[in-house]
Symmetry: C2
Subunit: 249 residues, 2 copies
């Protein structure tokens, strides 16, 4: 994390948001159709953002929340001891910048991992949005609950299981939209990112990846992920084929 970070200049590359149909957003997937038209008007602008750009920073106020149209964004906290805890990755269709205290300062930071296209929502009209579409708040609760579920059992998992769970999740999320059948994908992550996500050391992530490679489960080199054995991956991750987005109960 010693790289020269760019900062987002909010007004830099804005164009009117028209390219992104609201129905693509995960956030609005559960919202009844007749409410969607009401919501479209809360979108303001579309941004092009280059990689390694800090969208917003914890403790500071930020006027927008976003949905990701293309690219990857890492949401993270900087802990008092200087460590970085990556909370989650926002992928195309995902949202970021919503939090319980919507008007207050951000409780975490967000940085692009590669070139991103984002659609912005002004935060100050957020409460209004919720009243226009009550189902929206329920969607927010659902996402938080889903993330919580997968996180709860992390404490008892080994390094190999944690890495399997992360890659399974990312692979599943990048592949479900267009139902691709390829066994490879581009993940713009470093081994340090993975370590900061799973609470491991980069060294141990490296050794565990090597082990998974030698066991013929998966490969991850040069940000290219190749899946060799989905069954073993699922077994390690502790997820079932039927419910791929939540650990088996």
């Amino acid at each position: 994390m010693n790289k020269p970070l760019k900062f987002l200049h909010v007004l830099e590359t804005a164009t009117q948001c028209q390219a992104c149909p609201i129905r693509e957003d995960a956030l609005f997937r559960g919202v009844p159709v007749q409410q969607l038209d009401l919501l479209q008007k809360y979108r303001s602008e579309q941004y092009e953002v280059s990689d390694k750009t800090l969208l917003y920073e914890q403790t500071q106020r930020h006027p927008y929340a976003y949905t990701v149209y293309s690219g990857w964004v890492a949401l993270f906290k900087l802990l008092p001891d200087g460590q970085r805890q990556i909370l989650r990755y926002a992928l195309p269709g995902d949202f970021l910048g919503f939090q319980s205290d919507i008007q207050g300062p951000m409780l975490h930071s967000a940085m692009t991992l590669n070139h991103c296209t984002l659609c912005a929502f002004p935060r100050d009209s957020f409460e209004e949005m919720l009243h226009a579409a009550p189902a929206l708040a329920m969607e927010l609760a659902k996402f938080a609950a889903r993330d919580y579920e997968s996180l709860a059992s992390m404490g008892r998992k080994s390094a190999k299981e944690r890495i399997a769970l992360l890659f399974h999740d990312l692979f599943h999320r990048t592949h479900k939209q267009n139902a691709q059948q390829q066994s490879f994908a581009h993940f713009p992550l470093t081994q340090e990112d993975i370590a900061d996500t799973l609470g491991l050391t980069p060294v141990h992530v490296n050794r565990t990846l090597k082990q998974l490679r030698e066991e013929g489960v998966l490969e991850f080199v040069h940000q290219k992920f190749v899946l060799h054995n989905m069954d073993t991956l699922r077994e390690l991750a502790g997820v079932s084929e039927e419910m791929p987005n939540s650990p088996v109960i």
Copy 2:
């Protein structure tokens, strides 16, 4: 978990719910006052439940959600390998039984740890409730987000830090309502419960508790918790005095 479990017979000890004022509920704390009267009518009955009673079971449907009026309830999942992952504890004022798919089968189980008084909400009028009070869904999202935050950094914490975090959380939650200044509290937990919450082995929980006792931080014997050094506890837990309910950013 080899004990003879009791099961809740829903209609057993029901009395009309009148003793519990809705404003005591954490769930409704952020709901505007004018919406509260609308919500009161969704409450159905009040139950007295003895300890070690299974309120509902994962994979099965259950007609009610609850708020806890007195007593402790543990929410947990049984994992495929037979392990038990305790997700959280519901204390007086907390709610349980709400989940993203409100109509579907339960995704976790709930068991009382001691004698409890519960207020029930029929699940089938839940959507209706959300429309009567949009702020309610936002409260649900807040709780999920808050829990997520505190959980995210669990993976990188040592056994001592995890135990400190758990006890700090429980102590803070049991003491903030009536602003008690005592340094002791009754926690109806076993060391195995703690282990199943934090992803540790019972043996290691025991050794770590012994260590914390010898270091003069806290004592936990016979379900009685005595806090000797709040500063050290906060430091280990990684929480600040100003924001005691969320880990420091």
